[in-house]
Subunit: 421 residues, 3 copies
């Protein structure tokens, strides 16, 4: 918290000790030092998913989002521009905006009524005297980027430039869904009893799906996330080959329709970690719902074809499934070494009406269920890595390659940002 040179050296030693192909040394998942280092490096110097453009639909709409111990304000300015600021009054530091959503004309600090324009300019500061230069006390801005309707923020004054790569890949893939003009049908916060990296590792594999996510597995092809070709039963081999055939057929159709589908990976070697791919939805192929049919009768944007599959997007602290009828946007925020907030937003067409165009329980059932199952898995993983008997274990080269790369990326990013030798 104060001068961290001894702590930094200890975290650096742990980063150096990581073995390729294996999970991380335990204290990187459990110690306060590593948690603070993660907040300082990963969550303060990288582009972090923080919400969606339709969180703030109209001028004056404001949300606050906590990122570790920090908090930011995201708002839509009178000129319709999206802006973000640290949620900290320049006077005595009070939180300007309460948790959740609000609608404002100006940002008025509840403490002493320091008043800021939506541009962040300090418009009013009572009792500060005639010599006081309000220009020196505007709100501290936060870099914000809208990528196809998903919002990314970076607390650093020097945000990584490769956010452009994310935008270049994702804008065309997300365009048809017009997420910027969607509506949030439901939002859920779950606190997982584990380190944020275990939350992200858990999300980056479907090795655990068959045994733990019976409902999700109806619409999910676990084989999309890898498998050991030598270890399959005959039936599994047939299923895997069938999926390969389906991708060949569907890929041709998607290409005919101008729908990008091939996997793009932008992970090790880059600050802005992401991976995307268009996935075939299992079952009837329409949506991640209990019956694998579309949950919403009014499709998103111009995505009028259930056959468009699932635009899957992973990021540093997020995962997303964008389907024809709805999108599910997940963000994860660290609350402590062993606590992580997972926030899930279900997006539908802004004109879709609950009870008419969709049933809310049917829309949200799969991922509410899956989130609860994942929270349990992350909790038992955290308990395990905190045990004296834990040793870094081997990732499967088939089903956990993405985790190995995530851990490698993590070590690289920390090392490059002050936690090197």
């Amino acid at each position: 918290m104060l001068d961290q040179s001894a702590d930094q050296a200890r975290v650096a030693a742990l980063l150096r000790a990581r073995q390729p192909g294996h999970t991380l040394p335990a204290p990187l998942y459990t110690s306060t030092e590593a948690y603070q280092a993660d907040c300082d490096v990963i969550f303060s110097r990288h582009w972090i998913a923080v919400g969606v453009a339709c969180d703030v639909e109209e001028a004056g709409d404001v949300i606050s989002v906590d990122i570790g111990p920090s908090s930011i304000v995201i708002l839509r300015d009178d000129d319709d521009a999206l802006r973000a600021f640290h949620n900290v009054c320049s006077h005595r530091g009070a939180r300007l905006v309460p948790p959740g959503r609000s609608v404002v004309g100006k940002l008025v600090c509840p403490y002493h009524q320091w008043t800021y324009d939506l541009s962040g300019d300090l418009a009013l500061a009572p009792h500060m005297g005639t010599d006081f230069d309000r220009g020196l006390h505007h709100l501290k801005p936060v870099a914000l980027r809208d990528v196809g309707g998903i919002l990314y923020a970076c607390l650093s004054d020097d945000p990584p430039k490769d956010i452009d790569a994310l935008a270049a890949v994702m804008e065309p893939r997300l365009a048809a869904y017009d997420l910027r003009n969607a509506r949030i049908a439901f939002e859920q916060d779950v606190i997982e009893a584990g380190n944020w990296k275990l939350t992200m590792e858990n999300n980056r594999e479907c090795y655990h799906c068959a045994s733990n996510h019976p409902q999700l597995s109806l619409s999910f092809h676990a084989a999309d996330f890898g498998y050991d070709p030598e270890g399959l039963t005959v039936a599994e081999q047939a299923e895997a080959n069938g999926l390969l055939d389906a991708y060949a057929r569907q890929g041709a159709l998607w290409e005919r329709d101008g729908l990008d589908h091939v996997a793009v990976e932008h992970t090790v070697g880059w600050p802005t970690n992401f991976r995307t791919q268009r996935l075939i939805i299992a079952g009837l192929g329409e949506s991640q719902t209990p019956d694998t049919r579309a949950a919403v009768s009014l499709p998103l944007g111009t995505a009028g074809r259930p056959g468009m599959g699932d635009v899957h997007l992973w990021g540093i602290n997020s995962w997303n499934h964008v389907m024809s009828d709805h999108a599910v946007i997940f963000t994860a925020f660290p609350l402590g070494p062993d606590r992580t907030l997972v926030r899930t937003k279900w997006l539908v067409h802004r004109d879709a009406v609950e009870g008419e165009d969709y049933d809310l329980e049917n829309l949200t059932s799969v991922w509410k269920t899956t989130n609860a199952e994942d929270a349990h898995l992350v909790a038992i993983a955290q308990q395990g890595v905190a045990s004296a008997g834990y040793r870094p274990g081997p990732y499967s080269p088939f089903t956990e390659r993405a985790l190995d790369e995530f851990s490698t990326w993590y070590v690289d990013r920390m090392t490059a940002n002050g936690y090197g030798a």
Copy 2:
């Protein structure tokens, strides 16, 4: 907790980094190191307000008061003397006295029945053998001082001598109210989600009152706590001038009646920080109640005149309002870097009868409401200073001069007590 030399150096560096006129560097409000340092220096080597003489009205009355991780016993001895001891048995260290109030003949440790006279002498220690010297195991005394009925304790063996200055100023100002013979009509504990210094800063200004304390503002002149003369509206200017006129008139009357009223400040440069002034009560001018009239029909002591105003007294961890009909005594105790206990006691004449001489809700309403409002403000200030976006901000030279001085005093005291360069 153990040897703290590295921690001490970090706290010292933060103290040196403080800019005059500005709030403190964040870790002084948020870190465990600074919290422990505050407990060691401010709360262990200074005179801390701990209660009132009428907490222990009669011989054998005992209260325990927690000061950070420590606990003290305050009691009235058989010879009517007030005494204080560490609330720690000399045998195995158990808490001698439970939380709250009790009445005892001797202090008997519940663990093994070691028994102490009210003088702290060890009178009985079973099974310790004939060679055991009880004289070596008396209770460890704590310095205690009764200033006009308000009790101050110092955990140090070498308490600051300038408590005499507090006594010299306050004894005559408090004499008419005879607080030593008052009665506690109500007591309330509130836990604020903030550092104790934010609790104290919040209390030392009324810049926040108009927007946050509508009920208190009926009996409180916010202008008493400063204002920017250039920034007032015409109406505000007229009101401020009216208050100045009122003080001129009322001051003459107070002087005629021998009532000290001018402000005395004993802050930067002294260990025992205090400020006092006699304030005019707003509205009908009688008391801090919802209708600004006296809440109690029987006045305190010989203070039979509502026109006596409000004897306001600030200290290191306390603030007080002593009015003709009742007094409100506040003490604040640190519970952690971001948790502070605020204890409020409402004192009335010892013969005043609830339901006859006063209505309890009417008596306590203003400050119960104000305490709840302040707890929220301290909580959002704590959230803010813990954020990455926090930078020490400027105090108003008009309305926050007392906070600037408090912060300066704090830095000086810490620096002078082991946290220097």
Copy 3:
């Protein structure tokens, strides 16, 4: 948590500062550093009581037991052997077995279905590829020892050899009770708000019994745990002499019957701290029940004589009372510097039927009541040692000799295991 050399040096300095005959320096009871050191040394390199053989009566029975941040699995293998493993999957570290009891054919990790035989061999690891060597990933074994039906585990690869001394003394003393074939009639977990060493100190003396345990005192002779012969009243002296006479008479009978009864102490100078003695039960002499009569009509094993008294056994983290009709087995596990789990198991003959052979409330009343009383005492002791006013106090040479030895043993063991000068 990470590299602990500075922390180690601080703990070592505290250990050196301990004065013989006195309680420990405060931070050894209160600091995070000392807690972690205790987990590393006492609870990881010594034989710790973890349960009873009848926790896992049949092949496939499994329990998990948490030891500080670690967790172990204890199970009965298909060949009826007792085994213990770290409760950590070799893959991603997840907890293999949930809290409490279960019955399994194999140990299947809930995360990715890695499957272990009850011998700990990795039998199945899907998707790991044909080159994967399962032999390198068996479960990490934990040393386990069954001493007369009480289970001891050691997390170290090099467990202390003097567990043999415990077995040599206790196997014959416990044989008649056949605890291996008993049944757990009731189990209770209590969390005490104190350091585990205060829990153990509290248990090692009965100085506090008369004033704090009225119910236990009916069946317990506090004088068994020492007294100051010079400090007794005439009546107490007569009682003490009566007890000495009773031991002379009863000892002769026990010797005639081949029942070991003399005290054996194996404490300072040994890793595996224990003390045992056969005690006379007070009152009617049968059992630790509210009326001091046997609670269970069917005696344990072949212990058909109430006159066999109470085989009392203390260990590092345990205390036990084995009587003719039932046994009470206590284990204590550290949860934090100031939190300790106390787990109590009441054992009866496996064929004893609740409601017929015993009344559960009558069986468990004395120790449920005593545990609650002790939890309060440990809590006030913890509050005291955390106070600025605490100084290490003197142990009674008559009633607290065993505590002095426990503290000396603790300092020795820590010093010998990396916390020396």
